[in-house]
Symmetry: C2
Subunit: 488 residues, 2 copies
């Protein structure tokens, strides 16, 4: 297997595309902007889903499923929302094809026009709140803590696998509450949950913060975000949790009788993460040799390669190791394929990001050892067979920790303070990463800075300290620094 992977320093964007392709993550499709998620990529999504789903359920949420289609009129019901989502979307106008009378395949049957066009969901607030109207009458029906795993479509012009595609997979939580306090608490609970998932499972450090008005979700009162930093110094919005206030309750007339039999509007949140996380995972850890998967998200964190070929003795040892790992809940694979040479296999598993690779040859066995290669550092050591399962178990934990710490150092080294526009531009144009700077709080200034530098305010960090200062653009007073960056 030829590596043929562009290096990051040569062309970061091409490096990313090479990894996506060569590691079997995704493929282009015949439909503009839509990707095929290949088995290796989907396996990571399945691990992510399983963990997130568990975290949602452990905090009292249940899953449901709402329709793919949204009546066009629904999108106009919430004034902000329509501006944000009723633009680039897939519109279903007909419900039948017919044979072309001229014999050229099939054509759209003009008599099968829908009375009202249907939009393929770009997000489901509208259809869900239209449904909640029927489900909520009394405070006894609240809270409603529902999540759905679904596909959504946004007709993006410039796409990139996982990071921005016309169709993507995601989860969207939609909760309904009796009080503002409870809804805000839910919004923050999910923000924390997302951050925990990103850091503990993806080994991807994130900054928790709140979006400015300009970057807020269309229809939200407040949008909270987790922001990660990619290896090219650009930020990635990795997940958002929205406090929607009573906006959707108003738009869809969703009220409840409180304990005192008084009618009130319901409070809402929504929150989501998507297959974009896979793009974030790739761009946080991978190197010029291929993908690197954190052990906790690897379906098969360990692979065993016989050197040069499987023999009875090697196979017996491999089977023992696999059984010992299985007893610890660690999945391992023994690659017995005789058509491929060890060197080819090594390169392939490196490309595919398998965290730990064992090589077993007869000479090793005679000495009672096996070769252990870790993907993160590419370090190879000889380890005694005795206790090898314990060693691997610890090593996987160590790799998980190392990946996080490495990414954290990279990220922390790229949070730079700027106190005027010259410094700001200099950092954005050379070092990249997050720039911590004072801002006067207006959308006007934010937009102007974006025009000048292409950097946007990624978030106002939740833990931002109070600090008197002056806006880098206007010199107006500011009470704390916010984080700017160029972003995906």
């Amino acid at each position: 297997m030829a590596k043929e992977i562009t290096s990051r320093s040569e062309d970061y964007s091409q490096w990313y595309n090479d990894i996506v392709k060569k590691a079997g993550m995704a493929d282009h499709s015949a439909v503009r902007g839509c990707m095929v998620i290949k088995p290796n990529g989907f396996a990571i999504w399945e691990k992510m889903k399983a963990q997130l789903d568990k975290m949602f359920k452990d905090t009292g949420h249940v899953n449901a499923y709402f329709p793919l289609f949204i009546p066009k009129s629904f999108l106009s019901k919430e004034a902000q929302h329509v501006e944000g989502f009723a633009k680039e979307c897939a519109v279903v106008t007909h419900h039948r094809l017919m044979n072309d009378p001229n014999g050229n395949g099939v054509i759209v049957d003009p008599t099968a026009k829908l009375e009202e066009e249907l939009i393929v969901r770009p997000t489901s607030e509208t259809i869900i709140w239209n449904t909640y109207k029927d489900w909520i009458q009394s405070y006894r029906d609240l809270p409603l803590l529902i999540n759905q795993w679904a596909n959504v479509v946004r007709w993006e012009l410039r796409t990139r696998p996982f990071i921005r595609t016309a169709e993507f997979l995601w989860q969207e939580g939609h909760t309904a509450h009796a009080t503002k306090e409870e809804a805000v608490k839910e919004t923050l609970l999910i923000l924390d949950l997302y951050a925990k998932f990103a850091e503990e499972y993806m080994a991807m450090p994130v900054i928790k913060g709140v979006k400015t008005e300009n970057e807020r979700f269309a229809g939200a009162e407040d949008t909270y975000t987790i922001e990660a930093l990619m290896q090219d110094g650009k930020a990635l919005q990795a997940g958002t949790s929205h406090f929607l206030g009573q906006n959707f309750a108003k738009a869809f007339d969703v009220t409840f009788l409180n304990e005192h039999q008084k009618e009130e509007l319901v409070w809402a949140t929504s929150w989501g993460v998507s297959t974009r996380l896979i793009g974030g995972l790739i761009m946080t850890h991978s190197d010029d040799d291929g993908l690197i998967i954190p052990p906790r998200l690897a379906t098969t964190p360990v692979v065993i390669v016989p050197i040069p070929k499987p023999t009875d003795a090697i196979t017996e040892v491999a089977d023992q190791i696999i059984a010992a790992l299985k007893a610890k809940g660690i999945n391992a694979k023994y690659d017995q394929d005789k058509k491929k040479r060890p060197g080819f296999k090594f390169a392939e598993y490196e490309m595919r990001g398998v965290p730990v690779r064992l090589g077993i040859g007869q000479r090793d066995l005679d000495k009672g050892v096996v070769e252990v290669a870790r993907r993160d550092t590419k370090e190879k050591t000889s380890q005694p067979l005795e206790g090898i399962a314990d060693y691997i178990e610890n090593l996987l934990e160590e790799i998980q920790t190392n990946l996080f710490n490495r990414a954290l150092k990279f990220r922390d080294d790229r949070i730079t303070k700027a106190d005027n526009m010259d410094e700001f531009k200099e950092i954005i144009n050379t070092k990249g990463g997050f720039v911590s700077a004072h801002w006067d709080g207006t959308t006007e200034t934010e937009v102007k800075i974006k025009e000048l530098t292409k950097a946007t305010i990624r978030c106002i960090p939740i833990d931002a300290e109070a600090e008197e200062g002056t806006c880098i653009l206007t010199g107006k007073p500011s009470g704390k620094r916010v984080l700017f960056a160029k972003a995906y």
Copy 2:
């Protein structure tokens, strides 16, 4: 909670709709023919998915994800397929909305017309085989054993929750093989897997068979099916596995170099089950008091109700039982809600089909017993607290078995032989169920019988014995009996 459920004898169809609604399984949506799958219904789908997914993976399959949209021209590439699927489907013609210049919400932007219309997938053979073309070059790339969990859309005119909806959830397996023998073997492997799942998990007996040409999947050489019998005597096609021959390989030009470097067309299978299974589950087991869920598909197979209210003593015992059950991998819930009376709770859990309900009152505790009610027979007994977890574990197995045996007896009692059209009509119009009869093997006769009786050939059972006979309609010779029924 008022029961207000129509009895089966009064109006079977209404009974079904009542269960779907009152047991919190599904709800109508604002979009014609599309349902909302509510948390209780979705929880069953999640259990089904988890088990099926495990069975697929245990037999070497992996998951992937292909685009929601299919270019219109793809549907015309396989001659049979286009007839079957390019008819009633959702057609995307535009990719943008704009504000109505007259101020009435949003309208479709006429300038954003797609060059080629996109079809929301009714099934994915075409887009997948168009992709496989790039993935398959050599015999080394085969077999390809891929499954996807997805939503699909077929613009149905007459819909019924779960059984037939415009959008539904399913899995579709699409495999590629080097030889015909291997593809046929795969088709039958999946048929067996589906039957095993239906019988061992859903407790729903099925008949395995092959479809007649007339009922075959559009583009298949052979369609295998599992057929179940509902309580109203109508059959339900519960899953299908198709041997596609080389039809899609021809249509999408998918060839491979065999071991002798000769180019050959690839052999294909596809197979699927859908949320329709939930409809089958309901109509196999449930009764006039509500849903009945087989223990193996119940998220929470045991519920504990304090009588009349939770006290410290009752809660302590409940917690002990829950812990003991948890140790056995059985999920139980303790319903401490003080706002609802026990009778209300009993009716609610009965409606929702929870397999086992425990009632714990102080008087019971004084005697060292609890009340155990099983949902399948509605039998109530007093059981010693000592060893209660073991008792429940066995009881759940017994309920699972009982549900299957009950349904099997019901089904077997309704497989009736008919040797002429008069007998045939009599059975179809009164007793219902499957009619086992001789048929001359022609589509013409099959269609004629359908016109006369509304019954179709559900399948030619795989284990049908050779038996000389004459077609009930034409008197022509027949070598074995086939199964007819009215069907959903």
